[in-house]
Amino acid sequence: MTLEIKDLVVEHRSPGRPVVRAVAGASLTVRPGEVVGLVGESGCGKSTLARAVCGLNPVTEGSITFEGVPVTPLGLRRRTLTGVQMVFQDPYASLNPRRRVGDQIADGLRTARDGETDPADLLERVGLPREFAGRHPHEFSGGQRQRIAIARALAARPRMLIGDEPISALDASAQAQVATLMRDLAVDSGAGLLFISHDLSVVRLIADRIAVMYLGRIVEIGDTAEVWDNPRHPYTQALLRAIPKPDGMGVLPEELTGDVPDPAAPPEGCRFHPRCPFAMDVCRVKEPEPGPVACWLHEPA
């Protein structure tokens, strides 16, 4: 029951523009009952990775297998792979505005061939009153809608839940609640959860492991506490340093110098070297091997 992503490459092609390698060789495993947080700046390819896992983006190279079966691109045909479900970023766009939320949740139940469960039961599980099943999405706030989207995803009995920035469209007070809810529901049902977010503080709250992505590659992966307390990759260190602390000292968070390079033309060698304070000669020519930490500073000799 494992999701395995191996050396995944996803390219975006559009006419008249260079090919963009959004994901350039990323490997990641999510085990059942495990919560993996994938963090990185916008444009690093984390959403593309999530979409590829659900078959929404075609895989250029490498492989994605779920329980040993390769994930195929979503097409017109009814799909057999219903064990992977996704919760999208924007609950204002991901729910059908013209259908009652109960009916939309029932779609999920039908996918799982579950004729017994009442959609209202699922609403209850995500902490909403049962009566809401008869209402339409516009009657709800962002946080409530995202709970409904989660209920719909859970209705299909997923064995792997993917959250693509599920909390970033929500009000700040609802973010931690919804994130914790997703974690609890996924773990309770024994499913794995791949939680994608740019908000490190929330990921830290719910993830067992954190994977840090930079320009299409995973640069560091490890247990949450370890990564948080002892980040090893210079990029992870920079990410954590950029979080402002509410200590009242008026310290501006450290800015990472330079800009994210164009993914259509990534730099030679290590992708992070132009912005890395510790860049050495080897970093400019040779890309470090992917591992727990993809950095020449931490390369096993």
Binding site: S42, D171, A172, P244, P246, G250, L252
Partner: protein, 256 residues
């Protein structure tokens, strides 16, 4: 040059949203406005610009220099809005027009407020894009919002706000939609612009970390009232109001 808000009350449909807000912004200072969602932070910002929703009634006084913005006739208020007082919104994906080029959005109000001709406006727009550190400002001028990342879009929104050299900038959760690294950059940019241009900034945010990083003064709002105001160091380190303390306590600890 300051913006003084005294006893601002806003009612919408018989419900009191703001119940007497006092705030004062000073040149070259960032005034942070904290509080939970629904506490009236955003409404305060919108009231200054006269952008309150339909049916809202505002009383009190919002003094910009000698003028009271609440009683200003619409024509006069239009001159202030976007000219002397500008605003940056939370989500640059929705605050920018998706079908107009960045250049068009940057120059439209400049031509209106500052009466610049096309060439001058373009030159100033490119200069502004450089100032908010958009790489390749010349090319960026002709592009559309969807061709930029979230951080870049917010920088563009800031450039648009600054185009007419405002004296007061209202930033409503300007970094909430951004990555932390990008947020760090935008915060530094805001602080730098505030110091360099002598802007009076009202920063609305729920993030006390952001507040601590760039605000000089901090006000905390609850249920339409300002419950505590003071210098950053004092409010965040030795809060005197129980509500401020509970906000600070609810943050995940550094070692927890």
């Amino acid at each position: 040059m300051t913006l003084d808000i005294t006893d601002l009350k806003v009612t919408i449909g018989g419900r009191e949203i703001l119940r007497g807000v006092d705030l004062s912004l000073q040149e070259g200072r960032v005034h942070g406005l904290a509080g939970e969602s629904g506490s009236g932070k955003t409404m305060t910002g919108l009231a200054v610009l006269g952008l309150l929703p339909h049916g809202a009634r505002a009383t009190g006084r919002i003094a910009l220099g000698e003028r009271d913005l609440l009683t200003l006739p619409p024509r006069e208020l239009n001159k202030v809005r976007g000219g002397e007082v500008a605003m940056v919104f939370q989500d640059p994906a929705t605050s920018l027009h998706p079908m107009l080029s960045v250049g068009r959005q940057l120059t439209e109000h400049m031509r209106h407020h500052l009466k610049l001709d096309k060439r001058e406006a373009r030159a100033r727009a490119v200069e502004l894009l450089g100032k908010v550190r958009i790489p390749g400002a010349e090319e960026a001028y002709g592009r559309f919002p969807h061709q930029f990342s979230g951080g870049m879009r917010q920088r563009i929104a800031i450039a648009i706000a600054l185009a007419c050299s405002p004296r007061v900038l209202i930033a409503d959760e300007p970094t909430t939609a951004l990555d932390v690294t990008v947020q760090a950059g935008v915060l530094r940019l805001l602080r730098g612009l505030c110091d360099e241009l002598g802007l009076a900034v009202l920063l609305v945010t729920h993030d006390l970390g952001v507040m601590s990083a760039i605000a000089d003064e901090v006000s905390v709002m609850k249920d339409g009232l300002v419950v505590e105001t003071g210098p950053r160091g004092k409010v965040l380190r030795e809060p005197s109001h129980a509500y401020t303390r509970s906000l600070l306590d609810s943050l995940p600890g550094e070692t927890a």
